[in-house]
């Protein structure tokens, strides 16, 4: 593993060394390191690229790291990762993809993640996307996330695009059975002439299911963002959708939170805001001796934390 690899792994999966527990590291289109544990088994798929991650029922306090890095120019891949999380399990899943493109060709990773979360299981999933490299080749990441939540399961997803991704189209769908709770934090920063679109549909099918979608974004330069999160209540349920964006320079943002109720006991709320950095915030930090640029950075970092 070279210096660039280590740097990318740290950026997308907070990995400073080979992690404890189960892991699968994919580099330039192929698996380069894999480890299963007694309770978490990672198997390559036989019919297509990707892996199955099987977490035994009752597995507690274990983690799975499955980072992907692309350091060559011109790699385009479509990968299927399926997570089967057994009943009563409680695990941390760290995914993430980093592209270092120093060439002139496009590098693209399209990951399709399917989460099958068992009864009473609890997961936290963190997925970070990051791009860098001095080349002119585009860095493209199009993640698809499908979440099936069984009764009384809990799922917290943190989906972060740090910087350097030229184009992203994110598709997230979730369906919740009775008592299931889903919390999604989406954080996105675009700059240059990047574009990002995030579509999300959460179907609250079971009684007493609940969902919270929090999307925070910063658009700089001439970048463009579109958010389209939808919460659909089909039963006695609760959902809250919140989109909050900071717009800078000549960027464009569209935010379209949609709520739908197909049951009179559904309670669904949405709120959305787009605005520039508040001038009082900038001045306050300048009265601490920070420059305007430093103040902006502190505000953005805090907002996207």
């Amino acid at each position: 593993m070279n210096k660039i690899d280590s740097h990318m792994l740290e950026a997308v999966a907070d990995m400073h060394s080979i992690p404890a527990g189960a892991y699968n590291i994919r580099k330039n289109g192929e698996g380069v390191a894999r480890n299963s544990t007694e309770n978490i088994i990672i198997e390559p798929k036989k019919d297509k690229p990707g892996i199955d991650i099987i977490i035994k029922p009752g597995t507690k306090n274990e983690s799975v790291h499955i980072p992907v890095i692309i350091t060559e120019t011109g790699i385009e891949e479509l990968v299927y990762n399926d997570f089967f999380i057994g009943d009563d399990a409680d695990v941390l899943i760290v995914a993430g993809c980093g592209i270092h493109n120093s060439g002139s060709k496009k590098s693209e990773h399209d990951g399709i993640h399917r989460f099958h979360i068992g009864k009473n299981a609890k997961i936290k999933s963190v997925e970070k996307h990051y791009g860098e490299g001095e080349g002119t080749g585009e860095r493209v990441l199009n993640p698809v996330t499908e979440v099936e939540m069984d009764e009384n399961s809990y799922c917290e997803m943190e989906m972060v695009q740090i910087k350097g991704v030229d184009s992203t189209q994110r598709e997230t769908t979730a369906s919740l059975k009775a008592g299931a709770k889903l919390v999604i934090f989406e954080k996105l920063m675009t700059h240059g002439n990047q574009s990002a679109r995030s579509n999300m549909v959460v179907n609250l099918n079971g009684e007493n299911s609940s969902a919270q979608i929090i999307s925070r974004s910063v658009a700089k330069d001439t970048s463009e963002q579109v958010f389209y999160p939808r919460a659909v209540g089909n039963n006695l349920c609760r959902a809250h959708v919140q989109c909050d964006s900071i717009i800078m320079d000549n960027a464009k943002i569209r935010s379209i939170p949609e709520i739908a109720a197909n049951n009179c006991d559904a309670q669904i709320v949405h709120e959305a805001a787009i605005g520039r950095i508040n001038n009082d915030q900038l001045i306050k930090l300048q009265t601490f001796g920070l420059s305007k640029e430093e103040a902006e950075e502190v505000i953005i970092q805090g907002f996207l934390k």
């Binding site: 915030q281 306050k284 601490f288 505000i299 805090g302 934390k305």
Partner: protein, 246 residues
């Protein structure tokens, strides 16, 4: 020492110009506890904002320790040791109290130091360190954190804009103690914009600002009784209430 020389500040309004500050000359000596008071809309906060550099004077100059700082930015003035606690401090999504105090201090503050600053403003520190300075805090809490952030800085001049506003009675007593301790040290000039009797009585000097001008100034012992008399004379309601009791 901060000195305002012939400072005016005008703003355009419809077809007219409004004179917010009208040719003020003012010196604030080192190590002094100065209270600026006066009617609402008289220009008190504008003076503070002019000193901090948030507003620039239309004419006149501002001198700090012999240096003309009229054209310096807010950042540069902050680096010279001028600080300003806002009357209505902004909130920051995602920024913790500890981070805010550290930014004010200029480097990462150890937990115990953060706690000491928070305790000084009447906040139970452990509960607040990792809370975000966002809409989840009440107005009074944000205000007290603002004051703590000024204390975390190494300043030559600290300006507080109505620090008592929105703060409950119990915390107010604690704040008075904190300001008293700051005043005793005499290591920095403290400028407090306030209408509070207890704060005015602590002052070395009171400056009364009205209609953009200095209407009166002098030692607290002299100015404060005058202000009280003025209030009695101008307040019809108080006069009538007195008669009704006769």
């Amino acid at each position: 020492m901060i000195e305002l020389k012939n400072v005016s500040f005008k703003v355009a309004s419809d077809n007219d110009t409004l004179e917010i500050i009208d040719n003020i000359d003012l010196k604030i000596d080192d190590g002094k506890f100065t209270v600026i008071t006066g009617p609402n809309g008289g220009g008190k906060s504008t003076i503070a904002r002019l000193i901090m550099g948030i507003e620039k004077p239309t004419s006149g100059s501002i001198i700090f320790d012999g240096q003309d700082i009229t054209d310096l930015s807010v950042t540069d003035r902050a680096k010279l040791g001028i600080g300003y606690a806002f009357q209505q401090p902004p909130r920051f999504k995602g920024l913790t109290v500890r981070k805010l105090l550290s930014l004010a201090h200029g480097s990462n503050l150890p937990v115990d130091e953060c706690c000491a600053y928070l305790t000084n403003v009447g906040l139970c520190s452990k509960e607040y360190l990792n809370r975000e300075v966002d809409a989840s805090l009440s107005g009074g809490e944000v205000k007290r954190i603002e004051i703590a952030s000024i204390m975390a800085r190494d300043l030559k001049v600290a300006i507080f804009d109505e620090p008592e506003a929105g703060i409950d009675l119990w915390s107010f007593s604690m704040l008075i103690e904190t300001f008293k301790n700051m005043a005793k040290k005499k290591d920095k000039s403290i400028v407090l914009i306030s209408h509070q009797e207890r704060i005015m009585k602590m002052a070395d000097e009171i400056i009364v600002i009205a209609d953009g001008r200095i209407r009166d100034r002098g030692e607290a012992g002299v100015i404060f009784p005058r202000l009280m008399n003025e209030f009695e004379e101008n307040c019809d309601f108080r006069g009538k209430a007195g008669k009704a009791n006769e």
